[in-house]
């Protein structure tokens, strides 16, 4: 069964708008807003691969899964 997303937890104070997570998201879920902070604009397309989370140089984005899933 596919993992279910609860939310993208984004730390706006830590995000520096480098765009790495945006560029390498396989589903184009993420965009930078006018303040150069990341936002999940298409959360329904997220496949919870966590590539954004593991590559973020600023540890500013975390994928939170639905209750009962292993959030490691």
């Amino acid at each position: 069964m596919a993992r279910k997303l609860k939310e993208h937890q984004i730390n706006r104070d830590w995000c520096k708008g480098c765009g790495i997570c945006v560029a390498f998201c396989p589903k184009q879920v993420l965009e930078l807003d006018k303040h150069d902070k990341v936002v999940a604009v298409r959360p329904e397309d997220c496949i919870c691969c966590k590539l954004c989370e593991i590559r973020c140089p600023d540890l500013a984005i975390e994928i939170i899964l639905d209750e009962g899933e292993d959030n490691d």
């Binding site: 104070d13 765009g19 790495i20 590559r55 140089p57 600023d58 540890l59 500013a60």
Partner: protein, 266 residues
């Protein structure tokens, strides 16, 4: 524990530039420590000087932020006095292989149980973009306005020849792979060297027109291939990634213990 529990959150946001690969290496390393289930109290990180070396301030382990090139010397002292602790030594390419080159080869030769991580952005980031022994020919640096002419060290070959018993390479782009390799390197008993290609968009990227962090990560993705892969066989110019050496060999602290016992029996 969650990854964040291994951070000193009070120092965040960190000082690294937007898109600096060193941040991703910190991210990969924290995941390795978390997945191995290590206790914070059982880890000592020593670092020298450089943007890379600032990493020791951000982790909630025992940490020593020491002097340029000498992180492995301090680490050797810590390990010999407390051999049960896990010692992590992240270094920049200048820190590890220019000023610290001698410490590097001799730590490898002794096969002391330390995990050395070379955060290789092929430039001196902190001091404004001088070339390093890992830059290679044909790059622009403040100390080489008309391009560099020196050949680089190959960290993998150097560490192997010097006697490291675990030698591997990955990149910031391959963050999951880095975590898997770091887990094995930390668990390995002996001197482990993990080279992780990093990006310095601020100096290397700007001077060499490699573009922003995203473009530099594309280079890491396109210019490297796993050892044993078809891509590497077809294009030997690619930089190989993976584990090159993983061998059991007498470890320095264990041998030292034996000598103490031998001396006491006389």
């Amino acid at each position: 524990m969650a990854v964040k529990d291994y951070l000193r959150e009070r120092f965040f946001p960190h000082m690294w530039c937007p898109g600096c690969g060193h941040g991703t290496i910190l991210n990969s390393l924290l995941r390795a420590v978390e997945e191995l289930g290590l206790k914070k109290n059982d880890i000592v990180m020593t670092s020298g000087i450089g943007c890379s070396a600032r990493i020791s301030g951000y982790v909630d382990f025992h940490s020593l932020h020491t002097i340029h090139g000498r992180a492995l010397a301090f680490a050797t002292g810590v390990k010999l006095s407390r051999p049960n602790l896990n010692i992590l030594v992240p270094m920049g390419d200048g820190d590890a292989l220019a000023i610290g080159g001698n410490h590097f080869i001799h730590a490898a030769r002794r096969n002391i149980d330390i995990t050395a991580i070379v955060m290789n952005n092929r430039i001196y980031g902190m001091t404004g973009g001088q070339f390093s022994p890992l830059s290679g020919p044909g790059i622009k640096a403040t100390t080489a306005p008309y391009l560099t002419i020196d050949s680089p060290f190959d960290v993998v070959k150097l560490a192997t020849a010097a006697g490291a018993s675990f030698v591997a390479r990955s990149t910031a782009y391959h963050a999951r792979e880095s975590t898997e390799i770091l887990k094995k390197a930390i668990a390995h008993k002996g001197f482990s060297v993990v080279e992780i290609l990093s990006q310095c968009p601020t100096h290397y990227g700007r001077k060499n027109k490699e573009g922003d962090a995203v473009a530099m990560l594309e280079v890491q993705k396109n210019n490297t291939a796993k050892i044993g892969s078809k891509a590497l066989a077809e294009n030997p110019n690619l930089i190989p990634r993976g584990i090159f050496v993983q061998e059991e060999r007498p470890e320095y602290c264990s041998e030292y213990d034996k000598i103490i016992q031998h001396a006491q029996q006389r």
